[in-house]
C-alpha cells in the first residue's frame, strides 16, 4: 500500500550567515513524509532539528532546495501566502506552550479560528470539542497561570488541532514536563495520529518519547540516520 | 548600620549599571519632569516680573488721589476747583513753593508693538515738571526734558524698545497735533518706563480736557500715612475722592493680572506634574519589574528589603532631579530677562521683564523632587516586598 505523500524535501540546504562567515546546517538533505505518519526527530543539540521543523512549518526557508507540500513548492510562497497556508494546514505545539497569558484556555484554543470564516456558535463547538479531546473541558474558563504545565501543554495541543490541520509540528512538547505528564501528552498525540489521522512530526531528546512515534530519524551533522524503533 | 549602608551603595550601583536597559523610559521621565519645571518657571517669571515692575512703581511717601469708585487713572476725573481744594489738605508735605503735588492727565494714544507689528494703546501722561520730582528713580538718559508749553515728549526706555515710532528727535502725530520726541528717560524698571510724558497744560489743550486732570499725586508729610488727607476729604462735601499711598495703588492695579498669571500657572504646572508623575511611576514600576530577578536574588543572599527600597527611590529621585535641573536651565536660558508687554487695568500697555527669582528655582526643584519621590516611593515599596521565592523560579 502506498500512502499519500504529504511532504517531499528535495536536497534542502540551509546555512546561517553571521557577518562574512556562513555556517551550513544542512547540505542536500532529502526527506519524505507521508500522510498519517508520526515521525520523531532526534539528534544532538545544535544539529538543526528546530530549523528543520521551522522549514516544514513554513516559518523558515531553505537556502537551496525545494519543499513540496502536496506537490507544491512552499518555499516559493510569499510571507502572506505562507501565513494562510499555515492557518489551513499546520498546527504548532511548542516546548514552552506559548499560551496567551491574558486569555482563558477556551479563548486560547479559539485563536486559530479567528482566521477562518466561522460563526461564533460554530467556533464555540469546535473549541469545546478540542478541549474535550485533550480532557480539559472543565478547565475552559481558566487562565494559563491557573493551570499546570501538562494542562497548559494540552491546551496548546487543543489550539493546534482546533482548526483541523493535516499536520502537527511539535518541538520538544514534553521537554518541560515530568515523566507521568509527558506520557499523557504523548498518548494524546498518539491518539490524534491513530484515530484522527493527523500527521505528526515531533522533535524530542527523549528516546522514551520517540517510542510513541511510528518511526524515528536521527539528525546528525546535517545527515539523517534512520533507526528502527524498538517497541 | 554600616553594612546597610554598604548594601544600599551596592544596590544603587547595580541600578545605575542596569540603567541603559531602560534608557528610553528613563529619558522620558527626565524630559517630562524637565518640561513641567520649565513651564512652572516660565509662569513664575512672568508673574514675578509683572509684580516687580508694579512694585517698583509705588512709593509710600506719595499719596495718590482719584475720583471715588474709579478703577484707575483712566476712569477718574478731577476738576480744577477740586484740585484747588485738595491742595490745601493737611498731611501733604509743603516746601518753599507750597504743597508738593502733581496733577496729572492720562490719555490713551496709539502705538505699534515692534514684535508683532500690531497696534496697541500707549499711555500719554501730562504732568508738570514738579511732578517729575515725585518720581525717585527718574532720570533722563538721552536728549533732554520737555519744555512746558511746547508739543514735546519724553518717552520711557521700555517704550523705545517695545514699540516703534518713538525714536529720539522723531516727530509723531498724537491726536490733533504733531509732537517731537526730545528725550528718553529711565524710570528704574517701573511702569512709568512704558509711558510717554508731556507738559500738562499742552496735553490738556491738545486733547480738549480744559483744566481737568485725572489724578493728583502728593508728597506725604508722614510717609505711609494718608489718614489726615482721608479725614479732610470726608469733611469736604465737594470732594468725592479716594486716597491711597502709591504703593497701595499699584499693588491694587497689579493684583488682577498677577492673580491670573499665578492662578493659571500653578494649576497648569500641577496638572502637568501629575502627568509627569504617571510617567515616573511607569518608569519605576518597569525598572522594578526588570530588576525583579536581581532584587530577589540579592534578597535571597541576605540583602535587606530596605536596600531594595532605597535603591529604587534613589533612582527615581536622581532622574527627577536631573530633569528639574535641566528644566530650570532651559527656563533660565529661554525666559529670564525676556521683555514683554500686556494690557494693564488702564487699557494701556505695561512693559515688563520675565524675572526668575531664587524662590522660583526652589519651587521648581521642589516640584521635581516631589514627582521623583512619589514616582519612586510606590515602586520602591513593591521592590522591598518582592517575594524572595521568585529568584528560584523560572523567569517568565
Amino acid at each position: 500500500m502506498t500512502a499519500e505523500r504529504l511532504f517531499d524535501l528535495k536536497s534542502i540546504s540551509k546555512s546561517f550567515s553571521k557577518g562574512k562567515e556562513s555556517i551550513a546546517i544542512f547540505e542536500g538533505l532529502n526527506m519524505v513524509i507521508d500522510k498519517g505518519d508520526f515521525v520523531a526527530i532526534m539528534g544532538p543539540s545544535g544539529s538543526g532539528k528546530t530549523t528543520l521543523l521551522n522549514m516544514l512549518g513554513g516559518v523558515d526557508k531553505p537556502t537551496k532546495g525545494e519543499i513540496l507540500y502536496a506537490g507544491k513548492g512552499i518555499e516559493k510562497y510569499s510571507e502572506g501566502q505562507l501565513a494562510n497556508w499555515r492557518a489551513a494546514h499546520i498546527g504548532f505545539i511548542f516546548q514552552f506552550y506559548n499560551l496567551m497569558p491574558m486569555l482563558t484556555a477556551a479563548k486560547n484554543v479559539e485563536l486559530p479560528l479567528l482566521l477562518k470564516k466561522m460563526s461564533s456558535s460554530q467556533r464555540k463547538k469546535s473549541v469545546a470539542a478540542a478541549l474535550e479531546l485533550v480532557g480539559l473541558a472543565d478547565r475552559a474558563k481558566h487562565k494559563p497561570d491557573e493551570l499546570s504545565g501538562g494542562q497548559q501543554q494540552r491546551v496548546a495541543i487543543a489550539r493546534a488541532i482546533v482548526s483541523d490541520p493535516d499536520l502537527l509540528l511539535c518541538d520538544e512538547p514534553t521537554g518541560d514536563l515530568d515523566r507521568a505528564t509527558a506520557t499523557e501528552i504523548l498518548e494524546t498525540l498518539q491518539l490524534l495520529n491513530k484515530d484522527f489521522g493527523k500527521t505528526i512530526v515531533m522533535v524530542t531528546h527523549d528516546p522514551a518519547a520517540a517510542k510513541y512515534a511510528k518511526r524515528c530519524v536521527h539528525l546528525d551533522k546535517g545527515e539523517f540516520v534512520e533507526k528502527e524503533l524498538v517497541a | 548600620m554600616g553594612s546597610l549602608m554598604a548594601q544600599i551603595v551596592a544596590v544603587v550601583a547595580m541600578n545605575i549599571r542596569s540603567l541603559p536597559q531602560r534608557i528610553w523610559m528613563s529619558i522620558a521621565t527626565l524630559v517630562a519632569v524637565g518640561i513641567v519645571v520649565a513651564v512652572l518657571l516660565a509662569f513664575l517669571a512672568l508673574s514675578n516680573g509683572f509684580e516687580k515692575t508694579l512694585n517698583t512703581s509705588g512709593s509710600d511717601k506719595i499719596a495718590v488721589m482719584l475720583r471715588a469708585g474709579s478703577q484707575g487713572e483712566m476712569s477718574s476725573v478731577l476738576l480744577r476747583d477740586q484740585l484747588n481744594i485738595m491742595e490745601l489738605a493737611p498731611g501733604i508735605s509743603r516746601d518753599a513753593n507750597g504743597p508738593v503735588v502733581s496733577a496729572e492727565l492720562y490719555v490713551i494714544v496709539d502705538g505699534t508693538k515692534r514684535s508683532t507689528n500690531t497696534p496697541v494703546n500707549l499711555p500719554l501722561r501730562g504732568l508738570e515738571l514738579s511732578g517729575v520730582e515725585l518720581r525717585e528713580n527718574f532720570s533722563i538718559v538721552e536728549g533732554r526734558m520737555f519744555e512746558p508749553g511746547r508739543n514735546e515728549l519724553v518717552v520711557g526706555e521700555a517704550v523705545q524698545t517695545e514699540f516703534s515710532g518713538f525714536e529720539l528727535n522723531k516727530k509723531v502725530r498724537l491726536g490733533q497735533s504733531e509732537w517731537t520726541v526730545v528725550g528718553v528717560f529711565s524710570a528704574g524698571g517701573s511702569v512709568f518706563g512704558s509711558e510717554l510724558w508731556g507738559d500738562l497744560k499742552t496735553v490738556q489743550s491738545q486733547f480738549n480736557r480744559g483744566s481737568s486732570a485725572q489724578l493728583l499725586r502728593a508728597k506725604l508729610a508722614t510717609p505711609g500715612d494718608v489718614s489726615e488727607i482721608q479725614a479732610y476729604i470726608e469733611n469736604e462735601p465737594q470732594l468725592n475722592l479716594d486716597v491711597k499711598t502709591e504703593v497701595a495703588y499699584y499693588a491694587e492695579q497689579s493684583k488682577g493680572i498677577t492673580n491670573v498669571i499665578f492662578y493659571l500657572g500653578w494649576p497648569l504646572a500641577i496638572a502637568m506634574a501629575l502627568g509627569a508623575l504617571a510617567g515616573a511611576l511607569n518608569t519605576m514600576y518597569n525598572s522594578v519589574a526588570q530588576r525583579s530577578m536581581e532584587i530577589a536574588t540579592l534578597r535571597a543572599i541576605g540583602f535587606s528589603g530596605v536596600s531594595a527600597f532605597i535603591g529604587t527611590l534613589v533612582e527615581s529621585l536622581a532622574l527627577a532631579a536631573i530633569g528639574g535641573v535641566l528644566g530650570s536651565l532651559a527656563a533660565y536660558l529661554f525666559f529670564d530677562g525676556l521683555t514683554t508687554s500686556t494690557l494693564s487695568g488702564n487699557f494701556t500697555q505695561v512693559v515688563f521683564d520675565f524675572k526668575l527669582s531664587a524662590d522660583s528655582f526652589i519651587s521648581g526643584l521642589k516640584l521635581a523632587l516631589i514627582v521623583g519621590f512619589i514616582g519612586g516611593f510606590f515602586p520602591a515599596l513593591r521592590a522591598a516586598r518582592l517575594p524572595v521565592v521568585i529568584a528560584f523560579k523560572n523567569a517568565t
Binding site: V59 | M25, G69, D110, T116, G175, N240, A271, T342
Partner: protein, 387 residues
C-alpha cells in the same frame, strides 16, 4: 471572540500600566480642552464679529468722544445701510470692585444693526417705552440675579448725575440672548437719552458709531469716505471693521495663542514620550506571543493593525475622559463671576472637541506606529524557542 477582543485584552493585561498611561493622556487632553476653550473664548469676539459691521471711533483713541451730529452725517454716506451709536457707561452694581459692562445706546437703531440680538417682541416694546428701562444679557442677569421688573440703583465709575450722585435708577425691561452659544450676553443696554440728559458733562456727545454696510465689499470705500469727511475737524475719526477692532483689542493682551500652543505642545510632547515608550515596552514584552500568532497563521498586516488599534484605543480612552472632565471644568469655570466678565464666551465648542479627537488619533498613531511596525516585521524564528 474577535480581533477587538484580543486588542482589548492586550490593552488591559497590565492594569497598572494602563491606568498610568491613560492618566497621562487624560491630563494632556484635559489641558487641551481647557486651554483651547480659553483661546476660543478669546478669539470668539473676533470670530463672531460681523463682516458687514464697522466701527467709527475718535481717531485719537476709542475712549475719546465724538459729537452726536456725526451719526446723521455718517448715515448719509453711500453704502451705509444702518447706523447706531453707543456710550461706555462704566457701570458697577453696589460693589465698585466688580465692574459691569453697560452701554448707553439708541435702542431702535441698535437692535437694527445688531441682528444677532434675540429679545422677545413684547419686552422690546416695553423697553422702547420706558425712559429708565434697560435690557440685560442672559448671562449677566443670571449672575446678578436680576429679573424683569426689577428696579435697581446702578452706579457709574466715570460719570455723575447733575445732582452729584453717581447712581442711576434703572428698571429691567427684558433679558436678551444671542443666536449663537458664544454670543456675549454679559452686558446691559440703557437708553442714550436717559444717560445724556442726566449726566453732568452736558452736551450731545457719543462714544462710538457702529454702521452696517450694504455690502462688505464696500467696507474700504465707506471707511475712507467717512474718515475723509471728518478730516481736519476737532474730532477726526477712524473707521475699522468690527473684526479688526476686536482683533486689535485681543492682541493687546500679548500673544495668547502662542502661549497656549506652547503649553499644550509641551504637554503633548511629554505625553508622547511617556506613552510611546510604554507602548514600545509592552510590545517588546509580548514578542513571544506575537511570534506565536504569526506562526499560527496571522498575517503581518493584521498584527500591525492590532498593535496600532491598541495604541489608538488607549489614546481615545484617556483622551475622551480628559475631554469630558475638561468640559465639566470649563462649564464650571464659566459660572464663576470673575471669569464670566472677562471671558463671556467660555464654552468647550464642537470645534475644540473635533480637534481633540483628531489629536487623539494622531497621538495613537504616533505612539503606536513604531511598535506596530516592529511587531509586523518581527522575525518569528528569532522570537520563538529562545528563552
Amino acid at each position: 471572540m474577535s480581533d477587538f477582543y484580543l486588542i482589548r485584552k492586550n490593552l488591559t493585561r497590565n492594569k497598572l500600566r494602563l491606568s498610568l498611561n491613560s492618566f497621562a493622556i487624560f491630563i494632556a487632553f484635559l489641558l487641551f480642552g481647557v486651554l483651547a476653550s480659553l483661546q476660543a473664548a478669546f478669539d470668539a469676539g473676533v470670530e463672531l464679529s460681523s463682516e458687514q459691521r464697522m466701527i467709527v471711533t475718535n481717531k485719537i483713541n476709542f475712549t475719546q468722544p465724538m459729537p452726536l451730529a456725526y451719526v446723521n452725517k455718517v448715515r448719509a454716506v453711500e453704502g451705509v445701510a444702518s447706523v447706531t451709536h453707543a456710550n461706555w457707561f462704566g457701570a458697577y452694581y453696589q460693589d465698585p470692585q466688580k465692574p459691569l459692562v453697560g452701554f448707553a445706546v439708541d435702542a431702535e437703531s441698535y437692535l437694527e444693526v445688531y441682528e444677532e440680538f434675540v429679545l422677545a417682541p413684547e419686552q422690546r416694546e416695553a423697553w422702547f417705552n420706558n425712559r429708565i428701562g434697560i435690557v440685560v444679557g442672559d448671562q449677566m442677569a443670571r449672575t446678578l440675579g436680576w429679573k424683569v421688573g426689577d428696579r435697581l440703583p446702578v452706579s457709574s465709575s466715570i460719570f455723575t448725575q447733575k445732582d452729584g450722585s453717581s447712581v442711576w435708577e434703572m428698571e429691567v425691561m427684558g433679558i436678551f440672548t444671542g443666536n449663537d452659544e458664544q454670543f456675549d450676553t454679559n452686558y446691559f443696554l440703557l437708553h442714550y437719552k436717559y444717560f445724556i440728559e442726566t449726566q453732568s458733562f452736558g452736551g450731545d456727545w457719543i462714544g462710538w458709531i457702529t454702521i452696517k454696510t450694504t455690502d462688505p465689499a464696500l467696507n474700504d470705500e465707506v471707511s475712507k469716505t467717512i474718515d475723509a469727511q471728518f478730516a481736519n475737524s476737532p474730532a477726526e475719526t477712524k473707521t475699522t471693521s468690527e473684526k479688526q477692532f476686536s482683533k486689535a483689542f485681543v492682541e493687546q493682551f500679548g500673544n495668547i495663542g502662542l502661549m497656549i500652543t506652547s503649553i499644550v505642545g509641551a504637554a503633548f510632547f511629554t505625553i508622547l514620550f511617556i506613552v510611546g515608550n510604554s507602548m514600545a515596552l509592552s510590545v517588546r514584552e509580548r514578542t513571544n506571543e506575537i511570534a506565536v500568532l504569526k506562526t499560527i497563521g496571522f498575517q503581518a498586516p493584521r498584527i500591525f493593525k492590532m498593535v496600532l488599534s491598541e495604541s489608538i484605543l488607549l489614546a481615545l480612552l484617556g483622551g475622551c475622559l480628559g475631554l469630558f472632565v475638561a468640559n465639566v471644568l470649563v462649564n464650571g469655570a464659566a459660572q464663576a463671576p470673575q471669569l464670566r466678565s472677562m471671558l463671556p464666551n467660555l464654552v468647550l465648542t464642537d470645534m475644540v472637541a473635533f480637534k481633540a479627537l483628531g489629536l487623539m488619533l494622531v497621538l495613537g498613531l504616533v505612539t503606536g506606529i513604531l511598535p506596530a511596525w516592529r511587531a509586523m516585521k518581527l522575525n518569528t524564528i528569532d522570537a520563538l524557542n529562545r528563552r
